[in-house]
C-alpha cells in the first residue's frame, strides 16, 4: 500500500473513533429524516419522486456533506496548530500526499454516513430500489463529496482553530438550507429555488434523486457540480500550501 493510502487509512481510523463525528454525520441526519418524514408524510412526493425516497436522498446528502466538512475543517486547523503537520513535514511524506490523503479520507467517511441513511430508508420508510441503484447512490455519494472535502481543506487551511468550526457549521447550514437539502425546495419561496440551482449541495442531491428515480442525471447538474469541484480543489490545495508555508 502506498504511503498516501496508509495515511488515508490512518485518518479514517482516527476520525471513526470520535463520538462527536458519528453524532453529527449519522445521528443528526437520521433524526432529521424522521422529523421530515412525519411532516411531509401526507405530501405525495416531489419532482415525481415518492416522499420517502426523496427525503432519504436528501438526508444522505446532509450526512455526507457533514462528514466531508467535519473530517477536514477544524481538524485540519487543529493539526496546523498542534504540530502534527509539522511532524509530517519532516518525514519523507510529501505535503501533496498529506492533502490527498485527507481528502480521500473525508470522501470515504461519507460512505458510512450515507449508507446508514439508505439502510434506514429501506428498513423503516419502505424505500425499494434496484441493486444497481443502491450501488450507484453510494458511488455518487462518494465521488460527489469531493468538492465538500475540498471546501473543508480550504476552511481548515485558511481559518484557525477558533474560526474554522464556525465556518464549517455556517457552510453546512447554508449549503443544506439553500440547496434544498433540509427542506424540499418545492415548499420554500421560489427565489430560493434559483439560488439552489447554482449550489453544489443541490446538484449533489439532484444526482441522487435522479438515480433513485431511475433517470439519467442532468448534464447541467453535473457541469455545475464539476465546476465547483475544480474550483474548490484548486483553492483548497493553494490554501493548504499557503497555510503550511515555509518561512
Amino acid at each position: 500500500m502506498s504511503a498516501t493510502l496508509r495515511y488515508t487509512k490512518l485518518e479514517v481510523q482516527r476520525i471513526l473513533r470520535e463520538p462527536r463525528f458519528a453524532i453529527f454525520t449519522i445521528a443528526v441526519p437520521l433524526a432529521l429524516f424522521m422529523v421530515d418524514a412525519s411532516i411531509f408524510k401526507s405530501s405525495g412526493g416531489f419532482d415525481g419522486i415518492a416522499i420517502a425516497k426523496y427525503l432519504m436522498v436528501s438526508m444522505a446528502v446532509f450526512g455526507a456533506i457533514s462528514a466531508a466538512l467535519n473530517a477536514t475543517g477544524a481538524r485540519l486547523a487543529e493539526e496546523r496548530r498542534n504540530g502534527w503537520l509539522r511532524q509530517l513535514d519532516i518525514t519523507p511524506l510529501s505535503p501533496w500526499s498529506v492533502v490527498t490523503a485527507k481528502t480521500l479520507a473525508a470522501m470515504t467517511l461519507t460512505l458510512p454516513a450515507a449508507a446508514l441513511i439508505y439502510l434506514f430508508g429501506a428498513l423503516t420508510q419502505g424505500v425499494t430500489l434496484e441493486a444497481w441503484q443502491w450501488l450507484a447512490l453510494l458511488l455518487a455519494s462518494w465521488l460527489g463529496s469531493l468538492p465538500f472535502a475540498a471546501l473543508g481543506v480550504l476552511i481548515g487551511s485558511a481559518g484557525n482553530v477558533d474560526t474554522s468550526q464556525p465556518l464549517v457549521t455556517g457552510s453546512m447550514f447554508f449549503l443544506n438550507i439553500f440547496g434544498g437539502v433540509f427542506i424540499p425546495l418545492q415548499v420554500l419561496p421560489r427565489a430560493m429555488g434559483h439560488i439552489a440551482t447554482i449550489l453544489p449541495s443541490n446538484r449533489y442531491a439532484e444526482l441522487g434523486w435522479a438515480i433513485a428515480d431511475g433517470r439519467a442525471p442532468s448534464a447541467v447538474g453535473i457541469t455545475v457540480l464539476a465546476a465547483w469541484t475544480v474550483g474548490l480543489c484548486v483553492t483548497g490545495v493553494l490554501a493548504y500550501r499557503r497555510g503550511s508555508v515555509r518561512t
Binding site: W84, R86, I90, T91, T247
Partner: protein, 294 residues
Amino acid sequence: MHAIQFSSVVKQYGAVRAVNTFDLTIGSGQSVALLGPNGAGKSTTISMLLGLATPDAGSIEVFGHTSQEAVKEGLIGAMLQEGDLVPGIKVRELIDFVRRLYPNPLELDEILRLADLTELVDRRTDKLSGGQAQRVRFALAIAGQPHLLVLDEPTAAMDVASRHAFWASMRAYAAQGHTILFATHYLEEADDNADRIVVIDHGQVIADGTGAQIKATTGTRAVRFTLGSQPAAGLQELAGVTSVEIRDDVALLRTDDPDATLHALYASGLRIRDLETDGANLEEAFLSLTGDAA
C-alpha cells in the same frame, strides 16, 4: 562527507537577525550540543536545518543534500520543541505509521525498546503523561533510522528521572554511529551528552569545543566565602574581579586572576570564612561567554 554544513547562513525576521552569518560543520557520527540562552537562535537554526525555514543568505547541506532533499530521502529524524502528539491513535499505530514512511526504518520492537515504550504500545496518544509523550516523540524521531537525529530542547517538559532515561536512550542511538545535534539551554546536559559543544548567542557561534575546552577558554575562576553581615561594597573593585554575586550571605566573585583577588581580599580587612576557590564550572563559563546574568 560532512553530516551538516552551514555556510554563512543568515535568517532575518523583521528587524531581528535571528541567525547571523552562521558557520558550522559537523562530521558524521558526532554528538553535538547547540547551547545558548533563550532567543540565541537555536530553534531558527534547527528549523532551517530541517527545511522548515529557508535561509535569507548562505547555504545548508546535510550529507551533501539540501535540507529538503535530505528530509525526503529519510536521512533526518527530528524531535521539535513545540507540538502535541496527534490524538485518536494508539502509540503502536502512530510509530508504525511513521516508521513505514522511511526507506530503511528500525524494527518496531527496536524503536519501542530504545524509547522505553514497550509497556505503552496499546495506550492512546491522548492518554499519556508529559514524559511519556516525549518518549513517543523521541520514538518518532528515530523510527526511520535517520543518519542525523535532531532534537530541539528535548527534555524541556521532563522531570529529573525522565531526563536521565531520555539521555540514556539518546546515547544508545548515538552509539550506533548516528550523528546527533541537540539544542539545549541546560549546560549540564550539553556537558554530559555531547562530545562537542557549540555555544551560540545572537545567532552566531561564540565558542566551539569540548566542555573542558570551553571552560578553559574563558579562564574564569570563582572565589566563594561567607560574607555574613559585612558590607559588600568594594568587592567589585578588588583586583581581577569581573563580577560579584551575593546570595544569602555568601559572596561569589568571578575573577580572571584568582591569586591577585585573594591577595586583595585578605588585605581588605574583611573577615573571610568558608573560603572556596574553584575552576569555573560550565555554567560560569557560559555566563561569561554570553555576558548574560543568570
